[in-house]
C-alpha cells in the first residue's frame, strides 16, 4: 500500500474491510487464521473491559472514565503493526492499544481509579503514561522520535490523539518539528466525530483532517477507522517509511465514539440517538464478526468461550487493581525529584506529624 494512492485532497480513503465484512483481497494483509482471530479477541477484550469500567464507575469503584467503544478497530489494527522497539505515546482513550501493547490491565484500571501506580509503566514497554492535556503529548512523540534518530535506534513512535487535538497549537508544532527533522513518528488521529460536545466541523474548516499533512510536508492518509485491517496496513506502511529514514506520517482514522465522552458526559445534550444508531452497524466488531464467519473462523460458542476467558482475565485485573493500597502520604513527596529537597522534606514531616496527631 502506498500513501500516494490515497490522496486525502481527492477525498480518497483507505478501506480493506467493509461494513458487510468483505475484505479487499488485494489489500488484506497476509495473516494466518490465529492472527485473524486474535484481532477479534483483542477488540472484544477492549469492549468487555470498557463495559467493566463503566460498571465500576457506576458502582463508585472508579472515577471519571472515557469509554473506547467503537474505536477498537483502528486501535487494535495500528497497535498490531508495531515492533518491540517502537514507542507508543497515547492520549487518554487508548484502552485497546494498551491491551495489545501489553500494558498490565490493572495499570489502566488504577489510573482511572485515581491511583498514581496506574502510570508506573516499565520503560521496556516503551509506552508513555496517559496524557490528559489534549494535543500536548504530540510534541513528546516528535521529540522521542528525534531522539531515536539521533541515537541511531531502529524504532519509531506511534502517537494517538483525537480530532479535537488537531486544533491545538502543540499539534501544529509537533508536526512542524517532525517534518523538518524527518523524525520517525506516526501521528495517528482517531477522528471519532466529536470532541466532547463539539462536532468535527467546528474543529476545522478543511474537508479532511488528513489534508493538514500537506502543510507540514508529511504524507497523510485517511482510513476507515472501524476497519482494523486498514489501520494495520496504513500503520505498517508508515512504519516502513519511518524505518527507512523517510520521516513522519499522518493517519486520520474515521471512526465514531459510540459512548459518552466520559462517564460524566451526557451525549443526549448534543447529539441525537438516531445518529448513534446509524453509526452502530458500522462499528468494528460487527463487521469483523461477519468477516470471520465468512471464513468459518467464528461461531457463537467460540465467542462465548473467549468472552468467558476475557472476563476471568478482567476479574483478575480488577482484583489486582483494587487490592493495591491507596498511596500513602510519603508518596506525594517522594517522586517529585530524584532527591527530596529540604523544603519538601519539611512539608512531608509536617504532614506526617499532623496525621500522627489525628
Amino acid at each position: 500500500m502506498n500513501f500516494d494512492d490515497y490522496d486525502p485532497l481527492q477525498g480518497k480513503r483507505l478501506q480493506v474491510l467493509d461494513p458487510e465484512g468483505c475484505a479487499d483481497p488485494e489489500l488484506l494483509p497476509d495473516f494466518d487464521d490465529d492472527t485473524l482471530r486474535l484481532i477479534f479477541r483483542w477488540m472484544l477484550a477492549a469492549r468487555l473491559l470498557d463495559g467493566t469500567c463503566l460498571t465500576l464507575q457506576r458502582e463508585g469503584r472508579m472515577g471519571t472514565y472515557p469509554p473506547v467503544e467503537g474505536q477498537e478497530g483502528c486501535q487494535v489494527g495500528s497497535a498490531l503493526a508495531l515492533g518491540t522497539g517502537d514507542w507508543v505515546v497515547p492520549s487518554f482513550r487508548e484502552l485497546a492499544v494498551a491491551l495489545v501493547r501489553g500494558v498490565q490491565m490493572e495499570k489502566t484500571l488504577l489510573f482511572w481509579m485515581g491511583h498514581e501506580e496506574g502510570s508506573r509503566l516499565p520503560r521496556e514497554l516503551r509506552y508513555l503514561p496517559i496524557a490528559i492535556p489534549v494535543g500536548s503529548h504530540t510534541l513528546h512523540a516528535a521529540g522521542l522520535a528525534m531522539g531515536l534518530r539521533y541515537r541511531g535506534e531502529k524504532g519509531a513512535v506511534l502517537c494517538y490523539f483525537g480530532d479535537g487535538a488537531t486544533s491545538e497549537g502543540d499539534f501544529h508544532e509537533a508536526l512542524t518539528f517532525a517534518g523538518v527533522y524527518k523524525a520517525p513518528a506516526i501521528f495517528f488521529c482517531q477522528n471519532n466525530a466529536w470532541a466532547i460536545s463539539v462536532p468535527r466541523k467546528i474543529q476545522c474548516a478543511a474537508s479532511s483532517l488528513a489534508a493538514k499533512g500537506v502543510g507540514y510536508g508529511i504524507p497523510s492518509i485517511q482510513i476507515d477507522g472501524n476497519d482494523p485491517f486498514a489501520a494495520y496496513v496504513a500503520t505498517t506502511a508508515a512504519l516502513e517509511r519511518a524505518r527507512a529514514g523517510e520521516g513522519p506520517s499522518f493517519i486520520e482514522a474515521i471512526t465514531y465514539r459510540l459512548g459518552p465522552h466520559t462517564t460524566s458526559d451526557d451525549p443526549g445534550r448534543y447529539r441525537s440517538s438516531d445518529e448513534v444508531e446509524r453509526m452502530r452497524p458500522l462499528e468494528p466488531l460487527v463487521r469483523y464478526r461477519l468477516f470471520l464467519k465468512e471464513r468459518n473462523l467464528w461461531s457463537e460458542t467460540w465467542e462465548e468461550q473467549i468472552s468467558s476467558e476475557i472476563r476471568d482475565w478482567i476479574a483478575e485485573g480488577v482484583r489486582k487493581a483494587e487490592s493495591l493500597p491507596a498511596p500513602g502520604p510519603h508518596d506525594i513527596f517522594d517522586h517529585m525529584y530524584a532527591e527530596l529537597p529540604p523544603h519538601l522534606a519539611r512539608q512531608k514531616a509536617d504532614l506526617l506529624d499532623g496525621l500522627k496527631e489525628e
Partner: protein, 325 residues
C-alpha cells in the same frame, strides 16, 4: 428571590449581563450546545443564539487570543477555559497581550474581557483537573483576578467583572459549585471588585481564605470556637488588586494571621499576604503569620487528594500553634 448554587448564580449573572448588553459574548469549549461541562452556561445558546454563545475549536491560546481580538473592538467576550489545568496555554496571550494592551497603547485600546476558569481540587477529578495557580495570575500586571466563595458573591462579582473596563480572570471554585445554596436576587447589583468580605468576626485570629477554602476555614473556625478561640475570616474576593487594607485592619486587631490556600506553598499568594503583614503590621503581631497550603508537589490523583488539600484539621492545628506562640 431564588435559592441558587454557584453554578446557577453564575448562569444568572451571564444571562442578565447578556440581556443588558448585546456586546457580551460567550466562547469556549462546549459552552454552547452542551452548556459547559459544569452546566454553567446551560441554556444560554438556546436563548442568545450561536453567534453570541460560541462553541470553539479545542485551542486554549486561540480562545483567549480571539477573545482579546473581540475585546479590542469594544465587545465584551466572556471566555471559558474548561479547567485551570488547561489555562497554561493561554498565559502567553494573557501576559504578552491581555495585560498589556492598555499600557502599550497608552489607553487607546483596552481588553474588557473575562476569562472564566473552574479551579481547585477536592472533586476527585483526573490529573490536571484540580489546579489552583492563582498566584501566577496575581503576579501578572494589568489583569484582575477574582474568586467568589458564595453564590451571591459569584453573581455580583461576575457582573462587575463583565462590566469592568479591564481584563478579569474569574476563578470559580468548582468544589463548591453545587455545595452551597444562597438567596440570590434577580437583577442584583454588581459587587465592586477589589473589596474583601468579612465572612465571620472574631477577636483572636484572622484567617484569610478564598474560593473553596472559605468553607474549610469556617469549619476550622467552628472547631476553634469550641476551644474558645474566635477566628475572624476575611475573604479577599478579588485577589488582584488585593484589598490589603481589609486584611491589615483585621490583623492589626487580632494580632494573628493565618492564610489558607490550596495552591502550592512556595511563592503562593500566602507569601504575599505574609509579606504585606510584615511590612505594614509587624508591630501588631502576637505570632508569626502562618500559611496552611497545598504542598510544593503535584496535586495527587483522587486517592491521595485528601492528603494534599488543607483540611480543617490542618488549619486548626496551625491556629492552635499560633495561639500557643
Amino acid at each position: 428571590m431564588a435559592s441558587l448554587n454557584l453554578v446557577e448564580a453564575i448562569n444568572l449573572a451571564l444571562r442578565e449581563e447578556m440581556e443588558r448588553d448585546g456586546d457580551v459574548l460567550l466562547l469556549g469549549e462546549d459552552v454552547g450546545r452542551e452548556g459547559g461541562v459544569f452546566r454553567v452556561t446551560e441554556g444560554l445558546q438556546q436563548t442568545f443564539g450561536e453567534e453570541r454563545v460560541m462553541d470553539t475549536p479545542l485551542a486554549e491560546s486561540g480562545i483567549v487570543g480571539v477573545a482579546f481580538g473581540l475585546s479590542l473592538l469594544g465587545l465584551r467576550p466572556v471566555a471559558e477555559i474548561q479547567f485551570m489545568g488547561f489555562l497554561p496555554p493561554t498565559l502567553d496571550q494573557i501576559i504578552c497581550h491581555v495585560g498589556r494592551i492598555r499600557n502599550r497603547s497608552r489607553g487607546v485600546y483596552s481588553a474588557p474581557l473575562v476569562i472564566r476558569v473552574p479551579y481547585g481540587g477536592g472533586i476527585h477529578a483526573p490529573e490536571h483537573h484540580s489546579e489552583s495557580t492563582e498566584a501566577i495570575l496575581v503576579h501578572i500586571p494589568g489583569i484582575k483576578v477574582v474568586v467568589p466563595s458564595t453564590p451571591a458573591d459569584a453573581c455580583g462579582l461576575l457582573k462587575s467583572a463583565i462590566r469592568d473596563p479591564d481584563p478579569v480572570l474569574f476563578l470559580e471554585p468548582k468544589r463548591i459549585y453545587r455545595a452551597i445554596k444562597e438567596e440570590v436576587a434577580q437583577a442584583m447589583e454588581p459587587i465592586p471588585l477589589g473589596r474583601a468580605r468579612r465572612v465571620r468576626a472574631g477577636a483572636h485570629l484572622t484567617m484569610v481564605a478564598w474560593g473553596a477554602m472559605v468553607r474549610e476555614a469556617q469549619k476550622a473556625a467552628d472547631i476553634l470556637a469550641e476551644e474558645g478561640v474566635e477566628a475572624e475570616i476575611i475573604d479577599p474576593r478579588t485577589l488582584s488588586p488585593l484589598d490589603t487594607e481589609a486584611i491589615l485592619a483585621s490583623v492589626r486587631r487580632t494580632g494573628r494571621c493565618l492564610v489558607v490556600h490550596e495552591a502550592a506553598r512556595t511563592a503562593g499568594l500566602g507569601a504575599e499576604i505574609s509579606a504585606l503583614v510584615m511590612e505594614e503590621a509587624l508591630l501588631h503581631l502576637k505570632a508569626p503569620v502562618a500559611r496552611v497550603t497545598g504542598f510544593d508537589t503535584v496535586m495527587p490523583l483522587p486517592k491521595g487528594e485528601h492528603l494534599y488539600m488543607p483540611e480543617p484539621s490542618r488549619i486548626v492545628r496551625a491556629a492552635r500553634k499560633m495561639m500557643r506562640f
